[in-house]
Subunit: 547 residues, 2 copies
Amino acid sequence: MDKKTIIQTQSDLVADWDTLFRVFIRPEGQASRATLIKYMDRILYGLNDFLKKHVGITEAKSLKDLSEKFTGTIISDNPEKKLADVITCLIEDIAPHAVNVASPYFIGHMTSAIPFFMVHLKTIVTALNQNVVKLETSKIVSVIEKQVIAKIHRMIYNQDDAFYQTHVQNTDTTLGVFVEGGTTANLSALWAARNAVFAPKTGFAGIESEGIAAAFRAYDVDRCVVLVSRLGHYSLRKAAGILGIGNQNVIVLDTDKNNRVDITKLKQIISRIGKENPKTCILAIVGIAGATETGTIDPLEEMAEICAEHHIHFHVDAAWGGPTLFSKQYKHLLNGIHLADSVTIDGHKQFYMPMSCGMLYLKDPKKLDVIAYYAHYVNRWGSVDLGIKTLPGSREANSLILDCALKIMGANGYALLIDHGIETAAAFAREINKRDSFQLMTPPTLNILTYRLCPAAIQNKLNTADKTQRQGICEKLNVINQRLQRIQREAGSSFVSRTTLLRDNNPDDSIVVLRTVIMNPMTTISILNEILDEQEEIFETQLKALL
Amino acid sequence: MDKKTIIQTQSDLVADWDTLFRVFIRPEGQASRATLIKYMDRILYGLNDFLKKHVGITEAKSLKDLSEKFTGTIISDNPEKKLADVITCLIEDIAPHAVNVASPYFIGHMTSAIPFFMVHLKTIVTALNQNVVKLETSKIVSVIEKQVIAKIHRMIYNQDDAFYQTHVQNTDTTLGVFVEGGTTANLSALWAARNAVFAPKTGFAGIESEGIAAAFRAYDVDRCVVLVSRLGHYSLRKAAGILGIGNQNVIVLDTDKNNRVDITKLKQIISRIGKENPKTCILAIVGIAGATETGTIDPLEEMAEICAEHHIHFHVDAAWGGPTLFSKQYKHLLNGIHLADSVTIDGHKQFYMPMSCGMLYLKDPKKLDVIAYYAHYVNRWGSVDLGIKTLPGSREANSLILDCALKIMGANGYALLIDHGIETAAAFAREINKRDSFQLMTPPTLNILTYRLCPAAIQNKLNTADKTQRQGICEKLNVINQRLQRIQREAGSSFVSRTTLLRDNNPDDSIVVLRTVIMNPMTTISILNEILDEQEEIFETQLKALL
């Protein structure tokens, strides 16, 4: 065999026009059709069966072992695999080492099972491949996006019929925008708030045009701040950093014993800034509706009042909690959200949409005018292109998924999910309180709670200990809970996350806690009990000696 | 019939736990399985058949007519539709009014047909629903993402084996990041450049922490600028606006007769800033590799040299042109790209991935350290979470699609697409030159060109006309080309876009041109001739009188 032949046998796959046509033109024959559908069957069922056989969260292989298998960095000239082999490889080799976020035992993060139909909807969106940045690549999809935005806006702001008739398809106004996720939504909200404060005026073309330094000079300001509770999402700091405000100017507000922003302290800080730093501008105050770590909700009504009084932009980060509005029983928890100037809600969280979809809603349909951008070839002045007032340019039509999901689920369907989460979390909290080994750290308002392993005897000791003793015990507990979480995660059959909270807002008193998010409707109290059992078992057999 | 019964008959769909379980748990019986697969068949084939029957770009219905049908803003309490009906509605009622971007007659924008297998790959990504922000919700997918990023990095920067062995799975370094699209990629590049210039130093915690005004004081700077040709993408202005630099500080550079940045003028402007405005800091110079409007490529090597000499961040926006590197025949067009500090490439453009996927690549694997963010519950210090150094938080695993696509297509497969586009565009340019009715405005470097309807007689007239006569003729031509594009678009069987270019960089001499992007491998020269025929026909029958 000469060298040439050897090379040919090494790869029987060749990139040529025939192959290319095959992948761009849908195969026409019945046999080809059957093949392509068989692939979908394998994706929908094969993948699922495989994950079910491996009931755990993930296979036990370590990250280091996995990494060592993925180090080649040369793109092969000829195709390496056919679609069928790629699918097989994804199902058999990749999926078992991915994370089975759909498992009811996966209760550590805000990523979970999604309804089966979501996969179908995403497939349609992909097959249509519309680009919602402009009408010329989306047409009716832009129209549907405006409608579904108006629907969610109405759920939040509940304006009258006339308002929605005016704005639902109004190409000059914007009730909301779809973005990649909560981070971009929060960034967009602060961007709009920043530009509104430093608007164009005589001799100044506006902050968007001239930049921050010029804006500060024009308005005689030397610092811009954003106020939010210490439970605010880290994307707010990131947004302040990106926007040129500086992330140290996100001022962290203390929380009360219910993990809600302390209103007295909020008032104090505003008044102190006014007196001591008259050149400091408060750009926005952010209320949280479903804190990432504790699920708690700030007193939105009172915050809105304060903002109104001081003419400060009030942003509500309801990335997590927004869909609570579906629940007739619990929507009162978000009272005051309709007073927000802007509201972030994530689609891939409690709308149970696939990754990744965020949204920003605006009380004032003209609010986003201050962030509009135009170009000669798209998004022209006077055009109806939705990309004019969004941070992203090209983007997929996730709005179509939300629109269909609302029709398939109905508000009541979503309400069932919300109610299940809140009520299961409450039952879980009772269970934690019942057990001697655990201490409930933040009781659930919504469907998130934190707790830690802390035997009753130790809890009693802590109550009577002096400061030094306390500190010693707490450090041990922190180590134990940190290890406990890791051991359970690595065992691979269930997953809770962990975070660090402060006791009494004291930065020197940080507590490692276990964090659970109950959003999977298949997560029952008996599964939660199994998870607690496993934790007790891990503690007894592996960690007790550390106390 | 009493009232209650009436209400019940109005809607036979009820949101209850049974329904909810059905949508979360995959149906188990053979019959249900067949049903779900049948839905996929309808999505893959029914949608396609329907679009084929309606060969045009879109149905003729006006936006106004469409909008009037989508004005309801109340979310129904009970489900409105079953999945089967939703799919039928999407295929029969929605798809015909969407834009058939897969048509070979759709040559107006950078959105086009995607290979059939991309739909399967996206379906897998959706079914797995991994969240790549953190390892705990993605595991192996984060590992694969690092590998595929290293592959593309190698295609751009071509470092040696040792370099890639060091970095491919290194959790401390970052060769690139996946983001939503080119806009976010460009924003991320300028964000990193900004933070590197205004780094922390004694008495200053860095621009990300303290903000721009403090940074300017610390570094004795009063203005920050970004330099880019007038053909730069509008996302650069948007990025400068967001970052607090001010979009007027994106300084537009004149282009030469080939629509490439004028190097002499670039040098002049740098030297002038140095002499006249020593407190102005040049944050970055941006080279374009595939201008949105003209497809042209800046002289990257010379720009890189200038940047190196002046220690300025060199960013290349190769959102469009990046994959030209696959083509052995044409990759030389991007010579110098490996000298860029950062490079933007879009996945949903010439990687033919579904909406929406952008990427940013970095020469220096530590470059993104200046934009890192941490949180207690994810992205902890020392963790390997990919979300630490990305603008977005939660995001879907588009990297998995790119990784599989590279294996299925091979570099040669992509090269065929690139070569086809470039060669078909060249043939199209020859055809335009041959015809008396048209004038080629920007000859193609890659697969994008612009031209306009301008009869030979008028072209001759323009050559001899005085300034006033010229202006009069040009205004008429602009109106004609504007209408021509609209009439053809509204007729609905083919689509070119339009934009406005400047003659000789003169803002008073703007020319409306037709713009075509040849990326669909099914777009042949005979289709392009049909499109020219239709334009001639429209001109003859509807627009000639305007001349």
